[in-house]
């Protein structure tokens, strides 16, 4: 029993014939490009954790030329939320405030801890009331029932902000629940990542970007114009099915061969150039742009959202006196030995971290990249790291050939 929808899904997910065509095209462009430039290795950054998931889960790296290295970017909100705010949430929980959070944040370990308690899950073990929710609406409905002082840990990117804004504007949030807005904006992180890689080029350099698909539904592809313009590299806004990602890689290589650097939307079924203007206006009505701290990285200009003054009655920072970080007292906040900050910036692969799958595992994660389902370390731990899969793939191929 197959419906049109399933056919559509299978087309992008299981169509080996189409995949073969796209992979052949990628090989052709790669051949042309390396013959023209003499370049034998380059990096393409896949910004989103969800793209990294698709790439690793479907084994895309084993299908494309080995000289093309796909490297994940900062697109994992849990990975970049400063340790300080986790500690503030733990304090609130220990003070008897109900904390609503997503599952990933629950397990996230803070750097310093609060009275030897390092995560919300540990806070729950000593009596903290931590409730896991899938979105803010569930939290709102639940908070209404008990009327206890509560806080919603608003961790995420542009995609979640319009929902929070709507809840506030429609006045559906009960007075006992406050929002701790830790929402981050992705373009500044991408600019920073590329700036770092321009100042201190990675080996090999980043020559193209697979840009966020979901974020772009809100921001529009236009958000990435400065990337193409300032860094002169192709940017492709991609969907999340394996064929989407392969087509995006193909387009990046096509541009490189032609010497172009443009923003192109591959994810045309969801993303427009200008994005969702209604969602954007909702977001700006309720939120202010602030300089915000990124875990292990530091402050990035205009990279976070906080509630505007007129909505301070909903603001956990104001209502519960949650302390903001400021650039002067920001300190490096990754665990000792953990290279998550470099992984997030595309400077290191998880397998280059001394803790990866040794001290730091999915069962006992140390760094945030191993906690989140969008974290590169967690994804590689589950589905295999790049070099391992490339070796395994060549072993299987040579055996088949023999």
């Amino acid at each position: 029993m197959s419906s049109l929808l399933e056919d559509m899904e299978n087309l992008l997910r299981k169509n080996k014939e189409l995949v073969r065509v796209v992979v052949r095209k990628i090989n052709e462009y790669w051949y042309l490009y390396s013959r023209k430039t003499g370049i034998s290795r380059l990096k393409i950054m896949d910004f989103c954790g969800t793209h990294e998931w698709t790439i690793t889960h479907y084994g895309i790296r084993s299908l494309i030329p080995q000289g093309i290295e796909l490297v994940a970017g900062p697109g994992c909100p849990v990975c970049v939320t400063p340790s300080h705010y986790v500690e503030e949430l733990i304090k609130l929980a220990l003070d008897g405030i109900v904390v609503y959070t997503y599952g990933d944040v629950y397990k996230l370990r803070s750097h310093k801890g609060v009275n030897n308690i390092y995560s919300l899950s540990e806070a729950r073990a000593v009596g903290g009331d931590i409730r896991l929710v899938s979105d803010i609406l569930v939290a709102i409905n639940d908070a209404r029932k008990h009327n206890k002082p509560s806080v919603f840990a608003g961790i995420g990117f542009e995609t979640i902000a319009p929902g929070y804004a709507q809840a506030i504007l429609r006045a559906t949030i009960p007075s006992n629940m406050k929002i701790l807005s830790l929402v981050k904006l992705t373009p500044p992180a991408m600019f920073y990542t590329l700036e770092v890689s321009r100042e201190k080029p990675t080996e090999p350099p980043i020559m193209g970007v697979i840009a966020p698909g979901h974020v772009s539904t809100i921001t529009g592809a236009k958000a990435w114009e400065p990337v193409a313009e300032n860094y002169e590299i192709p940017v492709v806004v991609s969907g999340f099915e394996p064929v989407d990602v392969l087509v995006s890689i193909m387009e990046i290589l096509r541009q490189l061969v032609k010497g172009e650097s443009r923003v192109v939307i591959e994810y045309v079924r969801a993303v427009s150039y200008h994005g969702d203007l209604t969602a954007q206006s909702l977001m700006w009505r309720v939120f202010n742009m602030v300089d915000d701290a990124w875990r292990g990285i530091g402050f990035l200009p205009k990279s976070g959202l906080r509630l505007r003054e007129e909505y301070s009655e909903y603001d956990a920072f104001k209502e519960y006196g949650v302390r903001e970080l400021n650039p002067a007292d920001w300190k490096y906040d990754m665990p000792m030995g953990c290279r998550c900050a470099e992984v997030v910036l595309g400077k290191a692969y998880p397998s280059q971290c001394p803790l990866f799958l040794k001290a730091c595992t999915p069962q006992k994660p140390i760094g945030p990249c191993m906690v989140s389902i969008e974290g590169t370390c967690a994804i590689w731990a589950k589905y295999g790291s790049r070099e391992l899969l490339l070796k395994l793939s060549s072993e299987l191929k040579s055996e088949l050939g023999a």
């Binding site: 029993m1 399933e6 997910r13 299981k14 169509n15 080996k16 995949v19 073969r20 690793t56 889960h57 479907y58 084994g59 895309i60 790296r61 084993s62 299908l63 394996p242 064929v243 392969l246 999915p362 069962q363 389902i373 731990a381 589950k382 589905y383 295999g384 391992l388 899969l389 070796k391 395994l392 793939s393 072993e395 299987l396 055996e399």
Partner: protein
């Protein structure tokens, strides 16, 4: 203070670690089995004991705590009888007898208890398995959740299957995987009313004894079978990982060959769970010598298991011992990690 977690009872990595520390390490090597047989030195829930006539007694024990106790396709009684019968079959035994222990909560409806016991006895009747002993207790209200059943199944084998997959073997599955796990998961999430496939009956637990498959297979193709398991907790991934890691082998599976029903695929994706980790209660996974593979599949089809097929193979590898790798739907490659954490508590 260290406390027991749900993950430690989920049949995955954490449980094996705990059992090693808590039990296996404390039992003397010579007391891990009866001389000439196998015991907890090989498997955790089943054993063989040599008989004077050259045959073996095959014994298996299991507790059933499934929640909910009634589910589309069966109930805890059917599960308790079928599950232990299947464990005996997977060791190459012909089930002949069973013992049961039932613990019920005070106030449990008598009618439900009758239905459950009748279901359990129905399976035994059909399988011609004698009920030769048991225990029955009632716990005060709130001190046990509704009902827990433990069963011990006993069988006879002239050549027990002690899992030993070998390089070159083909990996065989007898049917669609993950049906039971998907049904229980959807029920536990309170989605039973919303899932059309559950109410229409097109998605139900696959719980059943595998006698009709295994007895003919054992009598005709025993020499072809190097390993046999039913993928309950931890699912197909759990069985394959255990085979690969215990025998230092590489197992390669082809994702699109794995039989998974559409609704199972659909809902597990929705819930963010890989069907490879979902329990089946009426499926056999075998490691078969390559020369018999086609014949065994064909024979299974004739027995009415028309979805039986080969989904992968066992390989020798110096570099990748203990790995399970999957060829993905687009022809790429990824690893299949062992089950970790609590995937679905109280699945069986």
């Amino acid at each position: 203070m260290d406390y027991v977690t749900l993950a430690q009872g989920a049949g995955g990595v954490e449980m094996l670690e705990l059992l090693e520390k808590l039990i296996f390490r404390r039992v003397d090597e010579k007391l891990k089995h009866v001389e000439g047989g196998v015991g907890i030195d090989v498997a955790d829930d089943a054993a063989t004991i040599p008989l004077p006539d050259g045959n073996y007694l095959v014994i298996s024990v299991d507790s059933y705590t499934v929640n909910p106790i009634f589910f589309p396709g069966g109930n805890i009684g059917v599960l308790a009888a079928s599950g232990s019968i299947n464990d005996v079959l997977m060791l190459g035994g012909k089930p002949i007898a069973m013992l049961d222990a039932i613990v019920v909560e005070e106030g449990f409806p008598m009618k439900d208890l009758e239905i459950i016991v009748e279901s359990m006895l129905g399976v035994l009747r059909e399988e011609n398995v004698a009920l030769i002993g048991g225990d029955f207790k009632v716990m005060p209200r709130g001190q046990v959740d509704k009902i827990v059943i433990s069963t011990t199944a006993i069988g006879i084998s002239n050549d027990p299957i002690i899992d030993k997959p070998r390089p070159g073997d083909k990996i065989y599955v007898s049917d669609f995987i993950g049906d039971h796990g998907a049904v229980i998961l959807l029920m536990q999430m309170g989605l039973d009313k919303d899932v059309e496939e559950l109410s229409s009956g097109s998605l139900r637990s696959d719980v059943r004894p595998l006698t009709k498959l295994m007895i003919p297979l054992l009598s005709k193709y025993r020499r072809c079978i190097n390993a046999a398991r039913d993928p309950t907790r931890g699912g197909l991934a759990g069985v394959l990982y255990e085979w690969a890691s215990k025998n230092d082998l590489l197992i390669r599976i082809v994702e699109e060959e794995i039989p998974i029903r559409d609704p199972v695929r659909k809902y597990s994706e929705m819930l963010g769970i890989d069907p490879l980790y979902l329990a089946s209660e009426g499926v056999a996974v075998l490691s078969i010598k390559p020369e018999c593979a086609d014949e065994v599949v064909e024979f299974s089809h004739k027995l009415g298991f028309e979805n039986a097929r080969i989904i992968g193979e066992v390989r020798q590898s110096d570099m990748f011992r203990g790995y399970v790798a999957a060829e993905t739907t687009i022809g790429g490659l990824r690893l299949v990690e062992p089950p970790r954490g609590e995937i679905v508590p109280r699945i069986c």
